[in-house]
Subunit: 211 residues, 3 copies
């Protein structure tokens, strides 16, 4: 019983991570579609968006990089990128469509990044930062490769949503809540905050230094 | 006999890696020469172009970074950058000249990157990706540092040539062909594909998402 | 006696590293203040500027990343970024003000980066390069995130000052001078060279390839 319970949480976390990879790859293709990149450029941007955050997390934590340890992630990212790419050629998509998979990916990556750091006994601030890094770094690389100012620095609440979710996860796990429920609650918080921020145009104040 | 054979293959691989570092550093200087960078900026772009791909490969595979383990690579990159730099000041060079050393570097790096991953028993997809990363990442960093959209995303077949060569190498080694001949065949394939792509303007289709 | 001597050198080095983190975070905010970034963007640029160089050094040397091993660095960077940020909102600051903390940060990071490499018995060229990487990489990431050509490639002597200081440190330590005095001399050399370069407009020659 305990074993199957642990099993299902493992499976849930694995599915969430795979889902995050897929939707971030899709969001990468949808974003890169505005640039005259060729098919390879598309795939690279999809891979960078899908795997960049987790790769940086694993390199910083000195873990085996997740998509080298398990080729399924790499295959998932490539396939999700190609499928999105084929869809985009056939169907006329509204320009802001990539915001939804991007928000789901942010939620899933924040949770899996924070969990990975907690599993290595990282202290709370580092653990929550790893969640944010996993959640947002892929998108930053995606935008740098597209030669644009990272979207995440200027738009509606994004990393802030990720960070609040990561802090909730750290707090719940620290408070003894089961990993599965903690993960679900944290992912839901990130997703709701991000979607509400887009809907109601919640932004952090924008500051410029006085000249 | 066997020993000297193994020796010569080791030596060949080492020479190919050093050659790749030198020509990529040269290509970096030739590319950066279009920007108003100072001597240091030139050297950094040369080092990033020459060592960036292999560094990322080694960090991802958790190997000791090759130019830290063996200072010769670092010296080679700096010297090749400075020599190219001095040449550029004296001789009028045709603008597309850097394409040839760049193609040679792509071939050599693809082979050495794939070999390094195979030596660590990486599965086939990861091994071929490591060849591509080693081959193209330096050029991507070079272009990002120059604040341009990476050339590799928009021009004639580039990473595709690298990937096909890496797959050939993985297949030949897996099929029992000697490492030396496999490496030569794979490097030749990458070089021929890349040069033919430049000559005949082979490109991957360029896609843009519908608005 | 010997113990307290060693203690004070340890403490000095730690204080220099913390100081470097704080002033680089401040310089990051002052630089990013020219862009319409939101509060999170500011903090990310501050963190990248403050922690980027040391993180790359630690990843390349395969050490535990310094701000993961010791959360104080991360807290210092966030706090220094926020304090600078609050100051900038209240006080009218001259545009070139960030050049002074940036120069102090360059000196401190060069020394701490070279020391870290020497402590791992890196050879002289690699050790001095690690000092330069620690000193300048944060600023390069900062400028790439701001979508600008890295300042360090085009302005007054910067990395050159860092490299000469790193070489002095390697030479002094190799010549038997105490680590504390070596560090002070090297940091002073970097700072004096950088400030003199700004004052007297010392630049490396700028080269462009002939068309």
């Amino acid at each position: 019983m305990l074993c199957s319970r642990a099993m299902s949480i493992e499976t849930l976390i694995y599915a969430m991570a795979l889902g995050g990879v897929a939707v971030n790859a899709a969001a990468g293709v949808l974003e890169a579609g505005r640039k005259p990149f060729d098919l390879f450029g598309m795939v690279v941007v999809a891979l960078a968006a899908a795997l960049g955050g987790g790769s940086l997390r694993d390199v910083l934590l000195d873990r085996t990089v997740f998509w080298i340890a398990d080729q399924i992630y790499l295959l998932t990212a490539v396939l999700a990128g190609l499928v999105t790419f084929a869809l985009v050629r056939v169907v006329r998509l509204p320009p802001r469509l990539f915001l939804l998979p991007d928000a789901v990916g942010l939620a899933l990556f924040t949770v899996s990044g924070t969990q990975a750091a907690l599993a290595m006994d990282a202290p709370w601030l580092v653990a929550s930062m790893m969640g944010v890094i996993t959640g947002v770094f892929g998108g930053i690389v995606r935008d740098v490769l597209c030669n644009e100012v990272p979207l995440v620095f200027t738009g509606e609440l994004y990393a802030t949503a990720s960070w609040l979710g990561a802090l909730l996860l750290v707090g719940l796990v620290g408070g003894g809540v089961s990993p599965g429920w903690s993960a679900l609650a944290a992912a839901a918080l990130v997703l709701v905050l991000r979607l509400a921020a887009i809907r109601f145009r919640w932004r952090l104040p924008v500051f410029t230094a006085r000249p």
